[in-house]
């Protein structure tokens, strides 16, 4: 499965959409894309991180997601970042970490 990372601006919402394996190698790319999305424009547009297409996620990938959530809570205020967990692997990792109800999960 090939790794892709798309960033779209749709009706004022920035959608960050990684697909493929989110691991040691790709996690830094996602982290950078998220930081860029946070700073883009006026720095206050809502961000949706869509993980539906992620086929594998390890602790580095999880860390990239969690760091974005922490930054959002500290700087952007609640509600700025939404995460679409999709089904399967991402949900499994979030369940193992017991974070399903601590993260700002949204529907696609």
């Amino acid at each position: 499965m090939q790794w892709t990372l798309d960033t779209n601006l749709i009706d004022g919402t920035r959608r960050v959409v990684p697909t493929g394996e989110l691991d040691l190698v790709t996690a830094p790319l996602l982290a950078r894309a998220l930081v860029e999305a946070e700073r883009a424009g006026d720095g206050d547009s809502p961000i949706v991180l869509d993980l539906t297409g992620v086929t594998f996620m390890d602790s580095s990938g999880l860390a990239a997601v969690l760091e974005a959530v922490q930054r959002g809570e500290e700087h952007g205020g609640p509600g700025r970042l939404g995460i679409v967990p999709g089904e399967g692997v991402v949900v499994r990792v979030l369940q193992l970490a017991d974070l399903m109800d601590s993260l700002p999960l949204v529907a696609p």
Partner: protein
């Protein structure tokens, strides 16, 4: 930010990272682009000299991208390379991209990580080949190519790996000389220039030399496109890679027709061309040989040896590398052609005090390359009467600083009976530049390795784990090869009320920062155990420490841990488990039944009040508890949907296996997955109660 001079367009991040690292090592400033628009945006940037494309990029075939590149205005023509795995590079695609003007096609090994040594070697080799052939990549090579193009010297490269050793590169002069266009030349064997007029004997000499991979020079009667005959003096030499394999033949052609007609000015021009061509050829061969050998070296000793091997006898009869430490000059390596010279070099003092006007000191401190007469050469080596200087008497020297990252890491002295000529001096300086970097890289690598190893030691207990009433087997492996250091840890220690706490955990990330965090986690848990007795309370302490670190460094630090408190009971052990974002341990009873124990709690380092649950389970004699990190569960659970294997499944039917064998089997299973993650495994088995056993007899 410095402007980029190289672009990598590849969606395969692991591969892109490997290529990026390799190009960066060669001094490129690299931009990795992940989509077509970004690529097209930056292709036109000033100073882009090299573009590496994946065979497929996004959904588009590379040919479409290449077409798009052609239509863009570019300030300087960049060299374009396509890099992919054998599977991606089918014959059709290779032909297509070569026709579209791609400079080279790099076939990379499949399924490797960015730090894989094999991939590094392959890339180093390809890069050296690119430098040797595609003359536009580095400043030095631009000049070389221009010289070749201007002097009317034909220059071709052929690829013996392809059928019939076809021409894969041709310069303008060759086209002018023969009247054919590049399209008509590329892909054909050189013999298309031969006709009936060509001397069969010369052809045979040439063919034998190529077959035997020897350099050769012959003069042939060849025929131009328009049918006219010309005298073609052909020089052919094999180009070898770092493994000694012949990867290309260089052919240099000089039209000597006029020469035979006896016209003086033409003769001089042809002579000049030939000399230039010969020098160019030698340089190409030399550097394509030197690059991979030096680049693949991560050991200082080996780097110096490779340098000596490359310099002698190509540049001189002896080569000595010296370094300056305060006012002491040390001899790091010395290599001579022939045993007499080698013995004389070996007899020289290893260290000597610097002398007034010491040529080594002068060269090392910004004096640049120095020509040394016989006396000064002996002075540089520290040769005096009585230590074998007689053999070295009369040799002249050339001292060149070995530069690396703005410093001088040593001085290379090349000794020979005659002063080093212009071409050889330039070659020697090229070599010094490469060797300096190789020596410095080896030093950096060694330093990093020592730091990483030190950290790694801190993440694991110094002694094997000892548990009350239980035998224990532990396994640990840091993922990947080479420098990788893991973020997994385990430990067992007594806590405040005398019980024992076993912990196993995994911190996010890899390398030295992960190992440092693992060390913090382990020591925090130990400290917490001196005043807390419940596993949940101990894990909460670690959680607070991590959150404090986050506040200080504004970098997330997340740790998953399984903590297991062990209390002795009349029948065995009571295990009180607490899991924080960690896979649940597996319990194998003495009768062979297998179950997963514990209740999942929150990963540490994220929430101020993680949910943590304690679950107690009584273990009888021979019961086994298997604790592990996700390096094991992820490897076996894997991505293949038709293989829903869990660690519990793996443990089924292993009741007859010894504790050690079970640990080995689990470690093997973790290596079988295609991901090389860190893994830590800790298997414990309650020892039979001897008192009870005696009583029941």
């Amino acid at each position: 930010m410095t402007p980029s001079d190289a672009l990598i367009a590849d969606g395969e991040t692991e591969r892109a990272e490997a290529v990026r690292a390799e190009l960066a090592r060669h001094g490129h400033s690299v931009r990795v682009v992940a989509d077509r628009e970004t690529l097209l945006d930056h292709v036109a940037d000033d100073g882009i000299r090299l573009i590496v494309l994946a065979p497929t990029f996004g959904t588009e075939p590379v040919a479409t991208i290449l077409e798009a590149l052609r239509t863009l205005p570019r300030s300087s023509p960049a060299v374009v390379v396509v890099a992919g795995t054998r599977e991606e590079l089918d014959e059709q695609l290779v032909r297509e991209v070569v026709e579209l003007g791609v400079a080279d096609v790099w076939e990379l090994p499949d399924g490797v990580t960015a730090t894989d040594v094999r991939l590094r070697l392959v890339l180093a080799e390809f890069y050296a080949r690119l430098q040797a052939e595609h003359v536009r990549v580095g400043g030095e090579f631009t000049i070389l190519r221009r010289a070749l193009d201007l002097t009317g010297t034909g220059f071709v490269l052929t690829d013996p790996a392809l059928e019939d050793n076809p021409i894969v590169y041709v310069n303008e002069s060759f086209c002018r000389m023969t009247g054919y266009s590049p399209d008509e030349i590329l892909g054909r064997n050189c013999r298309f220039l031969q006709r009936d007029v060509t001397d069969p004997e010369s052809i045979a000499i040439m063919r034998d030399a190529i077959r035997e991979h020897r350099p050769v020079a012959v003069t042939l009667s060849n025929v131009r496109r328009d049918g006219t005959v010309f005298q073609n003096e052909v020089h052919i030499a094999p180009v070898r890679d770092g493994h000694g394999r012949v990867v290309r033949f260089v052919g240099v052609q000089v039209d000597v027709t006029q020469h035979r007609d006896g016209r003086g000015d033409r003769l001089a021009m042809a002579e000049g061309s030939r000399r230039l061509a010969e020098a160019a050829l030698r340089r190409t061969r030399f550097l394509s040989d030197a690059g991979p050998r030096l680049d693949a070296t991560l050991d200082r000793r080996a780097a110096l040896d490779a340098l000596a091997l490359l310099a002698v006898p190509a540049l001189g009869t002896a080569c000595v590398v010296l370094s300056v430490d305060g006012d002491v000059v040390r001899r790091d390596s010395a290599s001579g052609a022939g045993s007499a010279i080698q013995e004389a070099l070996d007899a020289l003092p290893e260290t000597r005090p610097a002398t007034p006007g010491d040529p080594v000191l002068v060269a090392a401190t910004g004096g640049g390359p120095l020509e040394l007469d016989g006396t000064r050469a002996l002075q540089a080596l520290g040769a005096t009467n009585g230590n074998g200087s007689a053999t070295l008497e009369g040799l002249r020297g050339f001292a060149i600083p070995l530069p690396a990252r703005g410093r001088t890491v040593g001085v290379l002295v090349i000794l020979g009976p005659a002063p080093l000529g212009g071409d050889d001096a330039a070659l020697a300086q090229d070599l010094a530049a490469r060797a300096g970097l190789a020596v410095d890289n080896a030093r950096l690598y060694e330093e990093q390795r020592q730091v990483a190893e030190q950290l790694q030691r801190e993440t694991l207990p110094e002694r094997p784990l000892r548990l009350p009433r239980a035998s224990v087997a532990t396994r640990y492996r840091a993922g990947g090869a080479g420098m990788r250091v893991g973020g997994d840890f385990f430990d067992a220690f007594p806590i405040e009320d005398g019980a024992t706490l076993v912990v196993i955990g995994d911190v996010t990330g890899k390398g030295a920062p992960a190992a440092a965090l693992a060390t913090i986690a382990r020591s925090t848990l130990r400290t917490a155990g001196t005043y807390e007795v419940s596993p949940a309370a101990i894990l909460r302490t670690l959680n607070l420490t991590l959150l404090r670190h986050r506040a200080e460094t504004s970098r997330g630090r997340f740790v998953s841990v399984a903590a297991c408190r062990l209390d002795e009971t009349p029948t065995g052990l009571r295990a009180t488990l607490c899991l924080a974002g960690h896979p649940a341990p597996v319990l194998q009873r003495a009768d062979g039944t297998v179950e997963v124990v514990g209740r999942g709690g929150t990963l540490l380092g994220f929430a101020p009040s993680p949910r943590l649950w304690e679950v107690a389970v009584d273990l009888g004699p021979k019961d086994r508890l298997i604790l592990f990190t996700d390096g094991l569960s992820e490897a076996i659970e894997g991505d293949e949907e038709d293989r829903p294997v869990t660690v519990a499944d793996l443990v089924e039917d292993t009741r007859d296996t010894s504790l050690d064998d079970l640990a080995d089997r689990l470690l093997e299973a973790s290596a079988a997955g295609r991901r090389a993650d860190d893994v830590a495994i800790c298997v414990l088995e309650v020892t039979p109660n001897r008192d009870r056993a005696l009583r029941s007899v």
